[in-house]
Point group: C2
Chain length 268, copies 2
């Protein structure tokens, strides 16, 4: 039996305000909960008897056995699953020098929780260990972000900090190339892409904000096809991030296989 106060507590974690106060977040469903248990402190598992029996070793501060009807009442999902987990948020510290030797992503005001979640999942796929979000980017612990990340929030460190100072520090003090996606940028396939750099992706509607634009020294554009054809004005930001990250990794793999600089291939 799930108490009203527990239902209220679960529901409250759908709101950023309560997540910020408690430092907890929600994850629902067997696969996601199992993926997150090794990565975050699990405070509470609310699950059916079957699930709890099947996962007797799943470590949690508290385990509450309930009926499916109880889960249906507490769940934030359209199709509630057998288990709801309450986890403690990670407490990553950002050290800019950690970013100097590798490829990282900066998200400047991404608003859609699904976009953020799929970008985190994408970053995990492509071995990008750090995502730096502007403070106005949607909360990583938004339940829709957690669900869309498919467990990748356990593998990728996501930080929130004002981007201009960080970018200046990386570019000026550490000579890190700053890439960014721009509709008025240059064809990504004609540029040399380093696997040591920061890729800035902008807000869904407005792109990269004014106070950051001039800090991006390498403006990337994904050409449409055929290039002289009128199309929708832009790609979804998660899809553009996917194409850009794949291209960085493709060219890195190519150059490590061929031993030759990428430019010689691109100039064909």
């Amino acid at each position: 039996m799930l108490s009203k106060s527990n239902i209220k507590f679960i529901k409250s974690l759908g709101q950023k305000k309560y997540r910020a106060e408690t430092h907890f977040f929600l994850a629902e469903g067997n696969k996601l909960v199992n993926d997150l248990i090794p990565c975050f402190d699990c405070e509470l598992l609310i699950a059916t008897a079957t699930w709890l029996a099947d996962h007797s070793s799943a470590h949690a501060g508290e385990r509450i056995q309930v009926t499916q009807e109880d889960i249906d009442k507490a769940s934030l999902l359209k199709n509630p699953q057998q288990v709801i987990g309450v986890f403690r948020q990670a407490n990553h510290t950002l050290h800019p020098h950690q970013l100097t030797g590798k490829l990282s992503l900066a998200l400047d005001g991404i608003q859609d929780p699904g976009n953020l979640g799929t970008i985190i999942r994408l970053a995990d796929w492509f071995g990008i260990e750090n995502i730096i979000c502007s403070p106005d980017t949607v909360d990583i612990y938004n339940p829709k972000t957690v669900q869309a990340s498919m467990g990748a929030i356990g593998h990728v460190q996501v930080h929130y900090t004002p981007l201009p100072d960080l970018i200046r520090s990386l570019a000026i003090d550490n000579n890190v190339p700053i890439y960014g996606a721009f509709l008025e940028g240059e064809n990504i396939y004609h540029q040399s892409l380093s696997n040591r750099g920061l890729i800035v992706m902008g807000n869904e509607g407005n792109g990269i904000s004014q106070d950051i634009r001039h800090l991006v020294s390498r403006k990337l554009y994904i050409p449409n096809y055929p290039e002289d054809r009128k199309t929708s004005e832009s790609l979804n930001v998660a899809l553009a991030t996917a194409i850009i990250c794949a291209e960085f990794r493709r060219t890195k793999n190519l150059s490590s296989v061929s031993g030759s600089p990428l430019v010689s291939i691109k100039s064909n």
Copy 2:
């Protein structure tokens, strides 16, 4: 003033059943409505006085002037806009021979309306004129799909038909290469990609269905990075589609620029 029956009518178009009965669909918001007016018959515009005055030439069967409060009542969006449009669904006919000389997408059971919408937007970006969906793929006229497509549903023809017969016809009768995304496929960057072919993308959870798998002669895999690293098990299907389509178009542009077959570049 918006009548109760009009509000009920608008709300009903959130459901596939009523869309199928009436052959209408909804689009909301200034940009989307303006983008769709040249592409579909607009039956009804429900808008504020300001919007109607600013768009006096916007052609529609009927124009109803309402208050913002009325729109808020009828809207399916969390953040209602100034205008709701009711459009007549397109009636595309699929002729398989139209698909033989170009690149097309087949979607096998995509369930998420947002994924379908962003894939349509992506197809438009990359000049893919036709998307063929299995009958169990989510409805293109789902309001979330329409919103996510950002107007691209006016430029890309989306067809629903059983895929096995179509794929057999293309592959056997017309010698069209059938590509598909598989976790157990071969590295996409080691394969020759034709701009005359069909790319099959599978369901979010289960991938490409059993009755189609054996019809895919060229199984593509997007390598993660580094390749020996454990990651999330897969990419979101819309992101995977984006990376694959971008790679088809990149190599096409490369070969048309260099005049040399792609293979010579890939074999580096």
